[in-house]
Every structure is written in C-alpha cells, then in structure tokens.
Symmetry: C2
Subunit: 112 residues, 2 copies
C-alpha cells in the first residue's frame, strides 16, 4: 500500500467523494501538507477500483460538470484499518528504538 493510496482511502471513509474533491479532502486532513497530484489520483483510483477497495458510487452532473463519486468498499475499509495498524506499529518501533538510543536528549520529548 503506497501513501497516496492510503490517503485516498482515508479521504473516502466519511462519505463518497469525487476525484477533485478527494484532492481537497486529502489536503485538508493532512493540514495542507499533502497536495495530491491529479496525475497520481486517477491512476491510484483506477488501481484501487481494480483491487475492489473502492467502487463507483454514482455520477452527478453539477453545473454542467460531471462528478464521478467513489466510495470505500467493505474490503477497502478492512484493508485501510489493517494498513493503519501496520503503519502505527512501524512508527512505534522506530520511536521506541530512538528513545532507547539517546534517552538523554531529543526524541523522547516531542512525541504524541
């Protein structure tokens, strides 16, 4: 699971969303740090759909513009959860080892 894929799945958890909306949602939930590129988005979206992690929800025409909404599938939800656990474990392992290394100075202080 790549990071863009992870963020796209996360963006779709709350409610179905269309491509352009996903870009803005990812930017919002990352605190403006991650600006998904459309060249990345549609490729990843197709791949996720092919893997059955997201599915086409509906198509709307809003102000003359097509909006193609995608939603998270049950499989996508489970996959995202498993991946989140794995990420958290990796992060935790690194932090633990960093603390053990220089318990004296940095690394121990500023962590959630």
């Amino acid at each position: 699971m790549t990071e863009p894929a992870f963020l796209i799945l996360t963006a779709l958890v709350d409610e179905p969303c269309h491509g352009y909306g996903i870009v803005r949602e990812v930017e919002r939930l990352s605190g403006g740090r991650v600006q998904l590129k459309v060249g990345t988005l549609y490729g990843v979206l197709d791949r996720l759909a092919g893997d059955g992690l997201v599915a086409l929800d509906r198509e709307e025409v809003q102000q003359g513009r097509l909006r193609r909404y995608y939603r998270l599938t049950d499989s996508g939800s489970r996959t995202l959860e498993a991946e989140a656990v794995r990420l958290a474990e990796n992060a935790r392992t690194a932090v633990d080892r960093l603390r053990a290394r220089h318990g004296r100075s940095t690394a121990a202080g500023g962590l959630a």
Copy 2:
C-alpha cells in the same frame, strides 16, 4: 521516504550493522513479516548514503567474508523521527475516521 528506507533506518538505530545483518534485523523487528530483498536493500542503502542519512561506519573481514557496516547519522536520526511522527499521524487520522464511521463494530478494538 519509502517503507524499506524507513525500516532500514529503524534497524540501524541501535548500532551499526552490515547489509545482510540489516535484512535479518528488519525481519526480527517486524515479527518476521517483512523480508527485505537484497536487491532492494543495497539500492536503498546507496540512496540513503547519498542523502547523508546513513554513513559507512567501518569494514571488517569476518571469516574471510567482507562486512561493510553502516551507521545512522544525526541527520538520519532526525529524519527517521520526523517520519515516524508523520506515519503515526496518518495512521491516527485513518483510525479516527474509521471509528467515527462505524463506531458500532470493528476498528476500535484491536489497536495499540
């Protein structure tokens, strides 16, 4: 930062290690789940060295076999810590949203 790079940096936190040893250390600290491929290892190691996150520590000849030890630099340590925080945030965001979605069923139970 890719995941193999993250795991390699994590493996080097405790003490300098040589390539083949890193493979085993990553396997150990991931609970046997991640088996780093040597084809991946040396490429990532070169890249990390080029970025100044790891450095050649020393070379030893043990039982006729060359061992090239790498160590984590200060920059590598700081980068790893920042990346661990970012990973933890991504994981946390996903988990929070999953819980809000179906606070009834899964997602809430099995997390560290």
